[in-house]
Point group: C2
DNA sequence: CTAAATATCTACCGGAATAGTAGATTTATC
DNA sequence: GATAAATCTACTATTCCGGTAGATATTTAG
């Protein structure tokens, strides 16, 4: 599960990404559009400003605005900035690498090997998706009978029934 | 991050999967081989028995043993049984579906769309990996100069540097 | 110059989840 | 019948998540 905080962050980025150049939104306005509690959102927007996604202007008529190209902000980068390290095992994170306390030999650890593969393809995907993808409006032809993601999920693989 | 509990569960399954037909291990023995605290492991093994992965024999000379073919137990199934629903959003889980409280329209929700894609390919991968893959011994040619998973990760994509 | 509107800083807090521990009980074997 | 094993139920300490609150700094409108 992604955290509520991340949800708010993404919704805020979507709201801010939809603005014209030069426009800005106050925390209050972002709160309305994202559904986040204002005082909680303060922390989140501040964090994203420090992460370099957003700029802020203080004082009257101030607000937040996107300062990086939406197509250059990857989903992976956002998730990392908000939730911290995303590797399935500490020994697979480069930014926050940590030896697993019990692990005797990383080179032969089966868990590391298998989760390394999983993580690698996961990373590849979330690094290739960007805020620009999140900004794409659910397009006009969205309701055609052609295979949308979730029905495809049900049909293609019966034993995925769990999730 | 996968939980410590899941780590113990996987290590236990690896230990039990390496046994010959007819053999069993006591909790104590599994604890030694997996590194898990014995009293904690009790819960975990019990859960996996109830999940249908393991069988147990009580009384003197009892123990736990694998009752399903390792090649038929997917990584995804294990993760789900131990940690519960694994979907990134409640509205993407079928077993534990829940409408996101704030979401007005699932069909046009950008978060749902994007994370649906991510989740779908993640599922595909972890459902195709099995306990049998975890049991493969780190093979004899493991230390060749050919691209292992982690160095590949560094080279192929510079801006994955974060994790 | 002053008031108001804004972002920013620091601290705290309740509930849930994680990672265990502990005691008592049942079941099978020697 | 003693012993060794799984099983059941309950409790606990710590950390993380999702906030709330108060005070401060900065800018603009009047």
């Amino acid at each position: 599960m992604i955290t509520q905080k991340t949800k708010y962050a993404l919704k805020s980025l979507i709201a801010l990404g939809a603005l014209q150049k030069g426009e800005a939104l106050t925390i209050e306005e972002v709160a309305q559009r994202s559904g986040a509690p204002k005082r909680f959102l303060e922390h989140i927007l501040l964090e994203m400003r420090r992460a370099g996604f957003l700029g802020a202007k203080r004082g009257r008529s101030g607000g937040y605005f996107l300062i990086r190209d939406a197509a250059r902000i990857s989903l992976g980068e956002i998730l990392q900035q908000i939730d911290g390290p995303i590797a399935p095992l500490p020994c697979l994170s480069r930014r926050a690498y940590q030896k697993c306390d019990d692990c005797t030999d990383e080179e032969t650890c089966q868990l590391r090997r298998v989760f390394g593969d999983v993580f690698w393809s996961y990373l590849l995907l979330i690094e290739s998706l960007t805020l620009a993808d999140l900004l794409k409006t659910p397009d006009l032809v969205a309701h055609l009978p052609s295979p949308p993601a979730d029905t495809a999920a049900q049909d293609a693989s019966p034993n995925l029934a769990g999730e």
